[in-house]
Every structure is written in structure tokens, then in C-alpha cells.
């Protein structure tokens, strides 16, 4: 039986009067690719923030590989093997793509040298180059990140998150800010690369076509609660999901 990797029990979080999470119970099995959907403010990013230690939940528990990691720091969650990418890519803007990856591999990954040794060494350089190739961003290697197009930034952000081969990766809107035309290219690239490293994936996405194509399972959030959880076929056809998440009433054409 496949291992349950991540499990949350009764997670709750409030910001003043706003309920960002209430009684969230989610369990993700190793190897799954889970799509997370929901309108803006439904609590998707809050969920990612809590699971990765950026926010501490007010209530409930987070278990990773059966170990309680509630209230741990970002660093501890990262060490434990939960990484993430961001809605707005979080990169080192003054450095080039290659330098970004060198830094990531050199301070984290399995190939990091001891702290007093020079960071740039062949194994670190090779790893950084390999990652660039895996995510097909090698042609931008010497471009400073603040001069990159959004699509490449998104890819680099995910590539950085994959350094150190996490057991699980959370992708927060991997295709936001990318043109519809590029979306499937980017997502295809990412899912390919992730499948190769056997990571469990949880991705937040607004484009239902993308969700339908790549997710094995879909969780829909509404007002901090889990509205539906199941296979894409079931969840995406659920009338409540269609009304509150997909944004059109059943049986009607989508308005603009």
C-alpha cells in the first residue's frame, strides 16, 4: 500500500475576521499529483503557507510521513522534504539564472560543500547545469533574473524548489501570468521533470483545463473549507464546485 505522505487534521487559521482555513482535512499519498482549485481568497495559498511552516495554524495538526510538523519553521519543513514554488516567483533578482541555481545547489542540495570551502566546484556546477537542462532554461543561463520573461521565471522558481529532491512539492499557481499558449508547454515541462524525480506534487491552479489534464486528483476549496475532494472527473463536474469555483452555473455557457 502506498505511503500517506502528507496529512492535515482539522487545520484552522483566521486573520482577524477572515477565515482562511477551517477544519481542513487533506491526505496526500506518495506519488500523487493533486490539483488544488478555488476562487481567490478560498485559502489555497494559506494552505501552502501552513504546510511549509511559513504560517502556524491556529488549530489542527500537520503530519508529514507520520511525523508531526505543526509549528515547525520554513527551514525545518524544507529539511523534512516539503518544498514549494510561489505565485510570484521568489528568486535572487540580481543574479543570473545559472548563479541562482549555483547558490541553491551550493547552500542546500546534497552536493553542498562544507561551509568553509569554496562553493563553486565541479559537482555543484554540473548539478546546476543539469537542472537548467531538465527545465529547459539553459539558453537563459547568463541572463539576470530581473530581465527574464515571466515564463522562464516561473520555471526557474520551480527548478529552485526542486533542488535537494524533495519528497513533496507544492506549486502555487505555476501557470499564472503565462499566456494561454505557453501554459501547456510550461506545465508539460514541469510535470515531465517532476515525474522523473518521483516527487509528489500538489499544485494550485485556476485553469480547469490544466487541472483536468495533469491532476490525478482534485481538491476544491471554498472560504477556507474543503468543498470537494476526488478524481478530476467527479470534482470538476460537481455542481457546487461549478457554481463556486469554476465560476459558471451548470448548463450555462461561461460568461466571458
Amino acid at each position: 500500500m502506498p505511503e500517506v505522505l502528507l496529512e492535515t487534521r482539522g487545520l484552522g487559521k483566521r486573520f482577524g475576521a477572515v477565515v482562511a482555513a477551517e477544519d481542513v482535512n487533506v491526505s496526500v499519498t506518495a506519488g500523487e499529483i493533486v490539483g488544488v482549485i478555488g476562487a481567490n481568497g478560498a485559502g489555497k495559498t494559506t494552505f501552502c503557507n501552513m504546510v511549509t511552516g511559513y504560517l502556524t495554524p491556529d488549530l489542527g495538526q500537520i503530519l508529514f510521513r507520520g511525523k508531526d510538523i505543526t509549528g515547525c519553521t520554513v527551514g525545518q519543513a524544507t529539511e523534512a522534504g516539503i518544498h514549494r514554488s510561489f505565485q510570484i516567483p521568489q528568486l535572487f533578482p540580481g543574479l543570473t539564472v545559472y548563479e541562482n541555481l549555483l547558490l541553491a545547489v551550493g547552500v542546500f542540495g546534497h552536493r553542498r560543500p562544507p561551509w568553509w570551502q569554496p562553493l563553486v566546484r565541479p559537482e555543484v556546477e554540473n548539478e546546476a547545469t543539469a537542472i537548467m537542462e531538465r527545465y529547459r532554461i539553459a539558453e537563459s543561463a547568463t541572463t539576470r533574473v530581473d530581465r527574464l520573461p515571466q515564463g522562464v521565471r516561473k520555471l526557474l522558481d520551480i527548478a529552485m524548489a526542486m533542488v535537494g529532491q524533495p519528497a513533496m512539492i507544492l506549486l502555487d499557481e505555476p501557470t499564472s501570468g503565462i499566456s494561454t499558449k505557453e501554459k501547456f508547454d510550461v506545465m508539460g515541462n514541469v510535470i515531465d521533470a517532476l515525474r522523473k524525480s518521483a516527487a509528489t506534487v500538489l499544485f494550485v491552479e485556476h485553469d480547469m483545463e490544466v487541472v483536468g489534464r495533469y491532476a490525478d486528483r482534485v481538491i476544491a476549496f471554498r472560504e477556507g473549507r474543503v468543498l470537494a475532494d476526488g478524481t478530476p472527473g467527479v470534482v470538476l463536474e460537481d455542481p457546487a464546485v461549478i457554481e463556486h469555483v469554476v465560476g459558471r452555473r451548470p448548463g450555462r455557457a461561461p460568461d466571458a
Binding site: V74, T78, R84, F92, L102, G106, V107, W116, Q117, V120
Partner: protein, 320 residues
Amino acid sequence: MTLLRRVRLTTAGIAVATAALLALWPLLPAWAAHTVGVSLGGGLVVLGLLILIRFGLVSFGQGLFFAIGGYAAALANQFLGITDMLVLSVAGIASAGAVAWALGYIVRGHRGIFFAMLNLAFSMILFGILAKTVVLGSTDGFSVGVPTLLGFAPDPEAGRLTFMLFGYIVVFTAVVAWWVDRILASPIGYAGQGVRENELRLRYLGVSARGAVHIAYIAAAKLAALGGVFTVLLIGHVTPEDTAYWTKSGEFVFVAILGGSGNVAAPFIAQTVFELVRTFALQYAPDAWQMLLGITLLLVILFLPGGLWSLADRLRGRDA
């Protein structure tokens, strides 16, 4: 140019500069040797600032640790009768390291102007204590005797600046600069770039940004203290006004910006330029010295954001 090659080039440069300075000793007039010594001392403080700048931080209170180094040496000399320059140096470094370790728990969560201001406040507290405490010499400070090294005392006729002290400062500074260069190229140095560029991403790479800042803060403090020890040994006197007051800290920041953070040699070059210009300016135009500083600082900010070192890069043609 790869980073590894840059580290090796810098190592070679440091070795050549050290050998040249030591060989030049017989030819150097006393004032020149003094200027070199004082510039290396001040340059160490600025080297500490360079580390912080690599981390994206500027301290407006580095005079705090400069003063701690100077006073630790002076007090150990005055009250414990220690004259060995090595012991005095260790005393300075250890005191500053301990203070920075404790204060580090406060400053490591601060960035930008809050980091700058907090350090300013620390240094002004020390200034307030030093200037008002009679045992610590009040505003007059202390004098320090001529130092010895490993049991060898210099010829009493030779004055304060002997080859022993000069050589000690040159060699010690060279070793420290080499070590700093190496550390800046190591994972912890790169973590500094991460703190500067995007702390959130660094945290999500499993690195504690606060921990890294804490380490850099202690390192910068130790360098400043060593600079303070050297300066006191050279000048033979220490006062609160010339070490802990905010204008001294401001001067160090000025030199750091002037030199740029491109290379560990930059602080020493900039500090030497600074000392030389000051010597002449105070002689010929004492009322225009600060104006000169101010205008230079503005010009560097506007036209040479990488400092003097970037000028060298530009002349060579980048990455040649």
C-alpha cells in the same frame, strides 16, 4: 572569470602586496609607514562592512566594535600590564566577538535602515558610557605603551613604529583578508547574497537567514575590533570621540562605499586613499575636508555605484 579563479588571483595578489610592503619597509619614510599601518587597521573595519554589504546590510555603528577592540587592548595594557601585541589582538577580537554574539540575537532580525539605526544606537550607548566613566578615561581616553611580540621588545630608541609592529600588522591583515576572501566564496558567503537578494527564497532553501546574518555580524565585529587594536598600537592613544562616536562609524561607511564591495582588496585601497587625502587636506584646506568627502560620496553614489574597485574592473574590461 570563474569565481574559483578570482579567489586564486586574489590570494596571489595578497601575497604579492604583503611581500612588497615588507620589502619596502627600509625605503618607507616614517609617515608613509604609519599611513600604511593605519590604513590597514581602518581597512579591516571596512572589510567587516564589506561582508555586511554583501549581505545587503549597512551598519552605522561599526565604531562600536572598533572602540571595543581599541579599549580592550588599551585596558589590558593599562590594568593587566600586557604588552604582547598578539595577546592584545586576541583580547580585542574576543571581547568584540562576545559582545557581537550577544547583540547579534537582537540585530539578526533587522534589515535596512533598522539595522543601520540599531547599530548606531548601540555605538552611541557605548560612547555615552566611555565618555562619562572616569575609570575608562572619560573623554580623554588612554595612552598605550609600546607593544612587544612573543617576548621580544623593540629597541627603546626606535619609537613606536618598528618593523616588528609594521610587519605584524601587514602579515596579520594579509592572513585575515585571505581568509575573508575564501569565506565569501563559500556557502556562507553565498548565503549572504541570498539574504541580500531574497530572504524568503533562502529560507525555503533550508538556510536560516537570521543565523547567517548573526555569523556575518560577529565576523564583521571581530574585524572591526582587530582594526581598533592595530590603530591603538600605532597611534598609542584611544578616545571615545575617535572610535565610538557616530561620525567615526559614518567615516567607515564612507570608505566602504568609496572602495566598493567587489574585492577584499577594495577596503584597504580605499582606506589608504582616504588617509592620504585626509593628511593633505587637513594641512592645506582643513575647512574643506568634509566638503570633499561629501562631494566624493555623492559622485560615487551617482556615477560609480560599484566604488573604486569597479573602476579597475571597467578599465580591464569586464570578465576579461
